[in-house]
Symmetry: C2
Subunit: 231 residues, 2 copies
DNA sequence: CTGTATCCGTGTTGATACTG
DNA sequence: CAGTATCAACACGGATACAG
């Protein structure tokens, strides 16, 4: 059972794999199963525990989560690690190759955001909201704009800054940031991807912004949803 | 039944959708079903008929193909079109938004190519092989290298050239190209992604190359598979 | 030839309940 | 909290029959 790897031999018997040399087919074999990619998404910002993943993904039952974690561990996408001394908890974390799924995930997200079925009012996990900022931020930002940003999303702490036009996100205490956004992910999504100015969202109590509010507004202005064009 | 569109209302009842505002989840709702992305892949190089798609995707049964085509048509990813006057055949073609799936598909393919389970010897559709060239070609090509390339892959004709470091592919007669590659997709894949020089593949009868063979070798040299690194 | 509709066997999926 | 066991529902693929 030690150091078990997926082999080509397995591909024949394990399931109804596509058995196709094409990378697209292999990708769908590896992460096309239900919930798999969303689990990876939850791990993109760092290791998480079984219960944290489950809590973030409404509708995902425990046995399926177990199956997916096992499968993706064998595939080399993630690994389980036991935290040192006192914690003793075990966490799941992406391998280097697993982290490389960020690009495909973001490409899929940007594509899907153009769907007429895209509904911003649906629920959103804390991690998913933070990742959406990285995905959807307009990259053409002026290089002088390097705010120190804090977030408290549905209770989870995040810290972010703009590096090379991309949003670098960490799970870290937001205290001390120039501006701190707090609220539920869905409400913040409405704020960032809607058209109302920040003050409107604050007045309606959807979000709280502390610190440099004009700076926060400038950050919010970097976001807008693509419009869907018919062919 | 006319101009039927997918609606948020549908999302609740049609299936077990994720009901998540996250783009990743929506993408998996839209193209995460078995075979869906491979069908899109077959359409990336232009419209195809029902039988052509089915012929390219071994293991895909007719009723499933019908279901997927219906679903993706409702989602606005593809449409069916009836060819003019004499042909009368109907074809399926991607919408503009559907064509935008090229980027996610290529991102997934590049990622999957790094898997230890990646097996180049598995079968490959004609379209999949041509797309793999576009996906895997090393973009850092010198701007003077602009060959006129012809392909006859498992009977299908293609023509390609390098535009802005990317391979532009058309379904078109290869006659008259500077160099023409012909053979079965799997054999050509071994040639392009293996380490043997082109002459080796020709000697073993795996592929035929007509025209400017040194030019062909220079083109083949642009391809190599990424090696998998453990974390 | 191009699809569509139906039945059926099988494997996958997921909710509930349960164990360490 | 982490994970397993059981069972029901459904998706998939094969076969077949049928329509334009």
């Amino acid at each position: 059972m030690e150091s078990q790897k997926i082999t080509n031999n397995d591909l024949g018997k394990m399931r109804r794999w596509y058995r196709d040399a094409c990378g697209t087919a292999l990708a769908m074999d590896l992460i096309g199963e239900r919930w798999a990619l969303l689990i990876v998404r939850e791990l993109l910002l760092g290791p998480r525990r079984f219960g944290e993943i489950r809590g973030a993904l409404e509708g995902l039952s425990a046995n399926i989560l177990t199956q997916r974690l096992e499968g993706m561990e064998k595939a080399g996408i993630l690994r389980r690690r036991v935290l040192p001394s006192p914690a003793n908890a075990q966490v799941y974390e992406l391998t280097k190759w697993g982290r490389a799924l960020e690009e495909p995930i973001f490409a899929l997200s940007r594509w899907a955001a153009g769907s007429p079925a895209h509904d911003v009012t649906l629920p959103l996990s804390n991690t998913a909201f933070m990742l959406s900022l990285r995905t959807m931020m307009n990259a053409r930002t002026d290089p002088d704009f390097a705010p120190d940003l804090g977030f408290r999303i549905g209770g989870d702490p995040f810290r972010a800054r703009i590096v090379d036009g991309l949003l670098a996100i960490e799970r870290r205490d937001p205290e001390g940031a120039e501006v701190i956004f707090a609220g539920e992910p869905s409400k913040l999504a409405a704020t960032f991807y809607g058209r109302d100015p920040l003050t409107e969202s604050m007045r309606e109590g959807r979000v709280t912004v502390t610190g440099d509010v004009p700076l926060g507004q400038r950050f919010v202005d970097l976001f807008s949803l693509p419009t869907f064009e018919n062919d």
